[in-house]
């Protein structure tokens, strides 16, 4: 009884957070008139808002995966009523006293309802308990500063201590410039925490979404025991513009996309958004000790 009430409250909280970030969950959009359309940014076809929500923000015409907010991703991934956020208020001050950075952070916090560019949580995926971290590209391009590095490292620590699998949905422009060298050090911190977790026998599934680049690619995003990606996500170390400037030629079509990485041996599977949860469930089942559900 008490458990049910907690579960209800958790689900209501997550729904509120999804609404706060302007997203909608499938078949929850009764208030939307079906006639409000939004163009697909890839193919230009008009798609109704309700349809966007029902299709998990994947274009029904061309399959383009639109970026979604962190809470929306959690709502799509975790079982109803199991979401428990970890370290939700954690953020960093302005370590280099960078001009205008405080105001920028304040504005973003107001606009997105996020305190930082990653949300970490405990929950269940098809009944399997797990620690899940989700990066959000709306918050300074999902860039990694001290707070993001700390939250990811803490998520790995939590998973290690509780003997739970760890799933991270990556989406990041890389290290956060405004925090300078301290951002660079978060690559060491996160890689270290993930390695400790893996040494202790933990399963880490990295799900790369559009875009995953720079210091995040060069640290925890590339260290998964299993690496998955959404279709056509841009994944790389250097950005395409920098590469074009360096080599002085146009890059081939599809370069640094999920399928390209799969072809080059850096990806286990490219998984469409609609199959991501079932794929995670399959992987968690395959890693369960003695085939039993833990937790």
């Amino acid at each position: 009884m008490l458990n049910e009430r907690f579960s209800d409250r958790r689900q209501r909280l997550l729904r509120l957070k999804v609404m706060r970030e302007g997203g909608r969950l499938p078949s929850s959009s009764r208030i939307d008139a079906p006639a409000i359309f939004e163009q697909c940014p890839a193919c230009g076809e008009a798609v109704s808002k309700r349809q966007w929500a029902d299709q998990l923000y994947v274009c029904p015409h061309c399959g383009h995966h639109r970026p979604i907010g962190a809470y929306q991703r959690l709502a799509l991934t975790l079982d109803s009523g199991t979401f428990q956020e970890l370290n939700d208020g954690m953020c960093a001050s302005n370590p280099l006293d960078f001009d205008g950075y405080d105001d920028k952070l304040e504005g973003l916090r107001r606009r997105t309802g996020l305190s930082e560019a990653v949300v970490t949580a405990k929950g269940r995926i098809g009944g399997w308990p797990a620690v899940v971290a989700v990066m959000d590209g709306r918050f300074l391009m999902g860039s990694m500063g001290v707070a993001v590095g700390e939250k990811v490292a803490l998520a790995a620590d939590t998973a290690r201590k509780a003997k739970l699998p760890l799933v991270i949905f990556c989406a990041s422009g890389g290290a956060r410039m405004q925090e300078g060298i301290l951002s660079l050090m978060q690559m060491a911190k996160t890689a270290e925490a993930i390695t400790r977790f893996q040494q202790a026998g933990g399963l880490y599934i990295a799900c790369l979404t559009h875009p995953t680049t720079g210091g995040v690619t060069a640290s925890f995003a590339s260290l998964g025991d299993i690496t998955l990606a959404e279709p056509k996500a841009l994944i790389g170390f250097a950005g395409p513009r920098v590469i074009e400037q360096t080599i002085g030629q146009k890059l081939p079509e599809g370069f640094q996309r999920s399928e390209y990485l799969e072809e080059h041996g850096f990806m286990d599977a490219v998984v469409p958004r609609g199959q991501m949860k079932s794929t995670l469930m399959q992987l968690l089942r395959l890693h369960a000790k003695g085939g039993a559900r833990r937790g």
Partner: protein
């Protein structure tokens, strides 16, 4: 230590063509150097130089970025911008050092990992990430010396040291000042301004707790008097090695060190913004 140079001047000194590089330090400070080539997967990258050598009678593994001394060498070494093959070679050498119980000494001097088409196709991001993972696990001490440019992830990939030292006029940053200005202000000509705000000098980084010590340079910079520079680096390395020998668990020591980087700036203000 008196500030002899502005941050922008230090950037110029750190990139000076005559500044001693990894090959010079190896030649001057070590004996019996045996170079180890290749990543045992697909290639050899001259942008990273590494091998086994004696340091004051003790075998060590030494690895560093190599920029090259003349145009021909520069081209062969890609101006010290490594490819994934270079990082994977470094991983191989580090694992071997771990196996044979040799301390590791690294020299950092790179504008950054090479942002090229082939480097991406071969997994530049994975190579750097794996290097960080490998360094997390080493049971031998690692001492890193930033001798010139410590450019971003390409530098960090050799620099997760129990001790990280910097030469007085070396720099270490998340991105080149030009790249920083171009990303944040859309204007790469404002790089001198970027040098001032980025906190990339050895003095700033020591204050931020990123590095453990500064090795003084001759007044005009390392290139003006390489012999004096070699002596100073030699003394600093001997001291760092003596200290590292007293660490009972180098992996745990590195964990503690890097796990808390930036923690002083963390806060948890309002729990929720609703």
């Amino acid at each position: 230590m008196a500030e002899l140079h502005t941050p922008a001047e230090k950037v110029a000194l750190a990139r000076h063509a005559g500044r001693p590089g990894t090959a010079d330090y190896i030649k001057a400070l070590f004996t019996d150097f045996f170079e180890q080539k290749g990543d045992r997967l697909c290639g050899e990258d001259a942008g990273i130089l590494g091998g086994i050598a004696m340091f004051h009678g003790r075998p060590v593994t030494v690895i560093g970025h190599r920029k090259g001394r003349n145009l021909e060498e520069n081209t062969r070494c890609n101006f010290g911008m490594p490819s994934p093959e270079g990082y994977r070679k470094a991983q191989r050498l580090m694992r071997q050092a771990d196996k044979f119980g040799r301390p590791i000494i690294t020299f950092i001097d790179t504008p950054g990992a090479y942002p090229g088409l082939e480097a991406e196709a071969h997994g530049q991001g994975e190579a750097i990430a794996r290097s960080l993972a490998v360094m997390s696990e080493l049971n031998v001490p690692l001492i890193a010396v930033v001798t010139g440019e410590g450019g971003s992830g390409g530098a960090l990939a050799l620099a997760m040291g129990n001790t990280v030292l910097m030469l007085e006029n070396a720099i270490y940053s998340v991105l080149s000042p030009e790249g920083f200005a171009s990303i944040l202000w859309k204007d790469s000509t404002r790089s001198a301004e970027a040098c001032d705000v980025m906190k990339l000098t050895a003095q700033d980084l020591e204050q931020l707790g990123i590095i453990d010590g500064i090795i003084p340079e001759p007044p005009e910079g390392a290139h003006a008097n390489p012999a004096a520079m070699f002596d100073a680096v030699d003394a600093a390395l001997q001291k760092a090695l003596r200290q590292a020998d007293r660490i009972s668990d180098p992996a745990a020591h590195r964990h503690k060190k890097f796990r808390t980087m930036g923690s002083a700036f963390l806060q948890e203000p309002g729990k929720d913004l609703f």
